[in-house]
């Protein structure tokens, strides 16, 4: 079988913290195969990223080029097409960059492409069996792919858990000369940082989070009332922002904020991986959803199968009642 390589994204010299996960995934394809890391960029950023990665991978391919100072997927694709051996298996993170890079790269390499791979369950000859999810994680599928002419596999971040990786003293191979001049039809201009909102949900210990199940803009107030009663803040999943019911600054997930509360109450949220990836710090995760099969129930600590629009006001009422009672008790001489 051809070699396994992993494209490790770096920005400003900081490498993707999932770099070791590629080793775990590669082991599931071929436990004995060495894995080569590929990093692109230029100058000090690239050097420091390569220095970190060579402690994890036996061989690190460095592609230095001024045009790659910012990771423009079209330029990275052109560089990779020049350096990848035929029939390679290339592992890439399934994130905004992998989505930009890999489908087109697979065409140029005439390699098989599979996106958002969550597990690798077996290989027989050139047939690799992978696990993916469909319908926002409601169902999984086994996918069989023919990798005889190579493959580009986009791996879901966090799906392949790296064991404690042994430190290695790897070598860095400079592939820059093979790449030549790079030009693209797309030119990076700048990055605009996310707007700070009225509430910083990343600092809130208790979050009441609403999803599509809240159904309409007017119902946001039901969640806000619960949050007010609890001294919590309201955040949300992507569909609520898409519908403009709450500002982007309240969105939790890969394309929103990463939060680390003590308690996270997910109301009417199905539980896509993009949303769950934004919840860190292992909070008490409570899911309220009327669909008992919602994927959120697989990862939540406590589940309540009920109609939000009825359940939340009753919960709020009860919490207010308790607050009033305990307040009176405190006032007693």
């Amino acid at each position: 079988m051809a070699g396994i390589l992993a494209y490790i994204a770096q920005k400003n010299g900081i490498v993707d913290d999932g770099a070791a996960d590629f080793l775990a995934a590669a082991k599931k394809i071929d436990a004995a195969a060495p894995v080569t890391a590929i990093l692109t960029g230029c100058e000090a950023d690239l050097e420091s990223a390569c220095a970190k990665i060579r402690g994890m991978f036996g061989e690190t391919w460095k592609v230095a080029n001024q045009a790659l100072a910012y990771p423009n997927a079209e330029l990275v694709r052109k560089a990779l097409v020049k350096i990848l051996p035929a029939q390679s298996i290339l592992l890439v993170a399934h994130d905004h960059f992998g989505t930009d890079l890999s489908p087109g790269l697979s065409i140029k390499l005439n390699a098989t492409f599979v996106s958002d791979v969550v597990d690798i369950t077996g290989i027989q000859g050139a047939k690799l069996t992978l696990v993916r999810q469909e319908f926002g994680g409601q169902l999984s599928t086994h996918v069989r792919c023919d990798i005889s002419s190579g493959a580009v596999l986009n791996l879901r971040p966090g799906a392949f858990k790296a064991a404690e990786a042994a430190a290695v003293n790897g070598t860095i191979v400079d592939k820059s000369a093979e790449v030549g001049e790079l030009v693209a039809g797309r030119r990076y201009l700048q990055t605009i940082a996310a707007e700070a909102g009225d509430v910083d949900i990343t600092r809130e210990p208790v979050l009441v989070s609403v999803g599509r199940g809240i159904q309409e803009a007017d119902n946001i107030s039901i969640a806000q009332e619960l949050a007010d009663a609890m001294g919590a803040a309201v955040c949300c999943s992507r569909p609520v922002v898409d519908a403009k019911w709450l500002p982007k600054s309240r969105q939790v997930g890969t394309s929103g904020k990463t939060v680390k509360p003590k308690i996270y109450i997910a109301c009417g949220i199905s539980g896509s991986f993009q949303h769950l990836a934004g919840i860190k710090g292992n909070p008490l995760l409570i899911a309220i959803n009327k669909n008992s099969k919602a994927p959120i129930f697989q990862v939540a600590d406590l589940g309540i199968v009920d109609d939000l629009l009825e359940f939340l006001p009753e919960l709020t009422g009860k919490i207010r009642e308790l607050a009033t009672v305990s307040g009176k008790e405190r006032m007693r001489p």
């Binding site: 905004h96 996106s115 009753e314």
Partner: protein
């Protein structure tokens, strides 16, 4: 600007609980409500808004069977100028590359400045736009969150990247963009609007019309094949609180209080 939007009809996950069929090889498709893939609907709305600003036409295309025509009519009711249905039994079982190959043949029969797809559909492949662009040698950008027409040769776009940040780029035309949800607010389409376009002819094109090479499409050419569906077993699963609503609320308050969640 001549804009092509590639769309797909999918089971509507907001209207259905997606379940396994009894054989475990497919989802239960009886009584399923279908609609246009949400991402594609945003793409059509974006195309209509661009044409309203700079002129041109919006064409919507889908690959499928006669049932799929309903989404084309829906998008025409929204304001797309024309539509085409690509349909041939030879296309069945195509993988993402096969679909991109068929679309490439369609694109080459026309003359489009801009091609839009949804960022992904129900299977989460997020692949057809990028593949199509590479086949055409057009520039590509995924997860596009805004489009501004600079002139007849280029656009200024933003992509949604990590942490809610936006990556701003210029991209040359013709190009392919995959559209993220939330880029706009798709207009409402009523029954009346759909009835108004009910008799507009929508051409159907097959493999012969598109000169598609049979060796690269359909099930026999697919290098990626779904074998089954199954219910994922992730994590330990939530402890489901049982009892009357009042009892559930009491248990919940207890758990939240124990974590210091009530002030």
């Amino acid at each position: 600007m001549e804009i092509l939007v590639c769309a797909k009809r999918v089971p509507d996950t907001s209207e259905n609980e997606i379940e396994l069929n009894s054989a475990g090889n497919d989802i239960e498709r009886d009584d399923l409500v279908y609609s246009i893939n949400e991402f594609d609907n945003y793409a059509v709305e974006e195309a209509i808004q661009i044409v309203a600003r700079v002129g041109g036409t919006v064409t919507v295309v889908t690959i499928g069977g006669e049932d799929d025509e309903e989404i084309l009519r829906r998008e025409m009711a929204m304001g797309a100028n024309q539509a085409a249905l690509i349909s041939d039994s030879a296309f069945e079982g195509s993988d993402g590359k096969g679909i991109a190959t068929i679309l490439k043949s369609f694109v080459q029969k026309g003359r489009y400045d801009l091609i839009l797809t949804g960022a992904q559909a129900e299977a989460g492949g997020a692949q057809v736009g990028g593949m199509l662009a590479a086949m055409l040698d057009y520039p590509f950008a995924s997860l596009v969150a805004s489009i501004e027409v600079l002139d007849t040769k280029k656009l200024k776009i933003s992509r949604e990247i990590e942490g809610g940040n936006k990556e701003i780029s210029e991209i040359e035309l013709p190009c392919v963009l995959s559209i993220q949800t939330g880029i706009n607010e798709p207009r409402y389409v009523g029954m009346r609007g759909i009835l108004q376009v009910q008799s507009v002819p929508i051409p159907t094109l097959g493999a012969a019309d598109l000169n598609v090479d049979h060796a690269v499409i359909g099930e026999s050419a697919a290098r990626v094949k779904r074998i089954d569906y199954f219910i994922p077993a992730l994590g330990k699963g939530a402890k489901i609180l049982e009892g009357s609503r009042e009892e559930v609320i009491d248990q919940l308050i207890e758990a939240v209080s124990a974590k210091g969640g009530l002030k």
